[in-house]
Amino acid sequence: MTSDTSTLRNPEASAAVDELSTYKWGFATDIEQDFAPKGLTEDTVRFISAKKNEPAWMLDWRLKAFRIWQTLPTPDWAKLKIPPIDYQDAYYYAAPKAKPTLASLDELDPEIRRTYEKLGIPIEEQKFLAGVEGARRVAVDAVFDSVSVATTFREELKRAGVTFLSISEAMREYPDLVRKHMGSVVPVRDNYFACLNAAVFSDGTFVHIPKGVRCPMELSTYFRINAENTGQFERTLIIAEEGSYVSYLEGCTAPMRDENQLHAAVVELIAETDAEIKYSTVQNWYPGDKQGKGGIYNFVTKRALCRGARSKVSWTQVETGSAITWKYPSCVLAGEDSVGEFYSVAVTNNYQQADTGTKMIHLGKGTKSTIISKGISAGRSDNSYRGLVRIGPSAEGARNFTQCDSLLIGDKSGAHTIPYIEVKNPSAIIEHEATTSKISEDQKFYAMSRGLNSEDAVALIVNGFCKEVLQQLPMEFAVEAQKLLGISLEGSVG
């Protein structure tokens, strides 16, 4: 990439992009790790639970999950080539040795702080730390490897009645809430990776928005896999009580490593009557090198339960990273007139594989869902949209609109659209549109003849292609997402 990149992104961002040649965030922080013994046995599960001072019921839950997991076959139905994973050849717990709780990010291990700075986190963050007035409010619960090392804005959130904690803390402070809801949307035996997560999850985020409260700021968690050979098993649980609203941002980067790293997260969302949850993800984990070596395996189970009437959940995701992505953020639309939305951009380049989409399960009367999926494939990558729209017998008057667009760059990449539609109520209205296109030479030449270099021309066209999804993202995320689209397509055009 040359120095004249990306005016379509903001100037700050383009300056940051300029220095890039390959993977921007390919560095490793050197911090003493506190490892669980290598391998996966009941002892590993007990170690993790003990390390986190968990209550007995939690340990029992984990052990039950572990026993079930041992009986489950690995899923192989997706259009993915997944090399066999040796679950005994990995560490399942790694925590920075630093103090477990901090009053502010200032007390954070300087090494970790530097890592965040390289990630570009600090701009907003430092404003807050310096007490800058009027800056946009984003609370960051920083998950560094496996333990939440610092939580900001807890006080202000507390005044609003919002609980925003690491899941380990929540287990101690709100055991009833956690016990009641954990596993209620994604049951332990739901699937192979979710079950594995239930056994060995190391930490994650817990959010509770009480009745009638509009969360005063966007909640944001930055995940980062840091230790070599450590799988990261996060668990997120968000509960929006009646009439509440929350917007949650999840952004991820990981340092460059040669060996594949497994990431199997579980996210559960619960929206009660008239509640709304907006969940946005920008995922740019290490995708492997240009020859397809290394990279993250991202096997994530995300599901929302729209339990109350008129509740609403929106998933927005921009997926540019990981060697293999297996992910279907879904909505169970149980409440009458509840609404599920899925906006997705998935980019694959080089040897990346993505099999991603959504499931919209319509159970309640008058439920509505919208699916907008934009897949972009470059290099020798393979990109599949896989989606299920199911209208149950009681979902009178349910509606779905699905639009799947695929964009191919070059002639060695693949795009696939695999919609499943099951309708058990004749009053349902289902619309499905799908297109596949290539970036035309005409478009590229037109943009270049106006002064854009080849990669910026492609980035501009791709950003246009993804516009409907990008505009769903909160502002600061949209900028990062545009930047990432350009970065992940570097070198994909001649």
């Binding site: 005016t7 030479e441 003849s449 106006r450």
Partner: protein, 246 residues
């Protein structure tokens, strides 16, 4: 400003330009006319650097720089503008974002500071008023849903905003009704300055009623076979291209 000598170029394996020479000085307006298949659009694409148009012999320099050695975006930054015969649609990218991105990319390549939002919008308002393009259109996707005439007006608009040194206009008049032709012509005439030049590629004399050329060239069989003043275009209009040596 632009010096082309003995230019030969292929499209695929097929030779189209066969020894074309042309010299355009600052302040001049040249019109290139000729029958279908003579190589007019090929010349435009070769000069702008389109992939697939291969120069096999000859040279083209722009202000002393070897034009053929530059990438398309570098040619743009050097001051060359190609007005497209068929302007391309880019869905989801607004005309204004596109143009501002392009202008700033050019400025950075030239080592100039980026234009401020305020200055950019000043230019936009001035040019769009002349070309009768309203703000709603400019906020829409690049050329998306534009009529043929609107697309051509948009090309003239881009010319006005990007302010190149040499405007290479490929059949900018095709598909225009009388009113649109007048509007686009006004855009071109506004562009004319002693330090700028225009190369009009056109089939018809009618554009030249509005934009008076200093020179008219007849392109046929991949070479310029006749050169004259504005009156040559009138003669061609009356007599057709028959009788001109191929």
């Amino acid at each position: 400003m632009l010096v082309i000598e003995n230019l030969h170029a292929n499209v695929g394996d097929k030779p189209i330009l066969k020894g074309l020479s042309l010299r355009v000085n600052a302040g001049e307006v040249h019109a290139i006319m000729g029958p279908n298949g003579a190589g007019k659009s090929t010349l435009a694409h070769v000069l702008a650097g389109r992939e697939g148009y291969v120069v096999t012999q000859g040279t083209a320099t722009f202000e002393g720089k070897d034009l053929l050695d530059l990438e398309p975006h570098e040619r743009a930054a050097a001051g060359l503008f190609l007005g497209f015969q068929y302007p391309v649609e880019i869905p989801g990218v607004s005309n204004l974002l596109f143009l501002r991105t392009a202008l700033n990319a050019q400025r950075r390549l030239r080592g100039e500071a980026e234009i401020s939002g305020v200055d950019f919008m000043k230019k936009v308002r001035a040019e769009s008023a002349v070309l009768a393009l309203d703000m709603d259109m400019l906020k829409r996707g690049v050329n998306v849903g534009f009529s043929g005439g609107e697309k051509k007006r948009n090309e003239a608009f881009q010319l006005g905003i990007l302010e190149p040194k040499l405007a290479l206009l490929d059949e900018t008049d095709s598909g225009l009704d009388i009113d649109a032709l007048r509007i686009v012509s006004e855009g071109i005439n506004r562009f004319r300055r002693p330090d700028r030049a225009v190369l009009l590629i056109t089939h018809y004399q009618r554009l030249l009623d509005h934009v008076r050329p200093d020179y008219v060239h007849v392109l046929s069989g991949g070479r310029i076979v006749e050169t004259g003043g504005a009156d040559l275009a009138l003669r061609l209009e009356a007599q057709g291209y028959e009788g001109i040596a191929a």
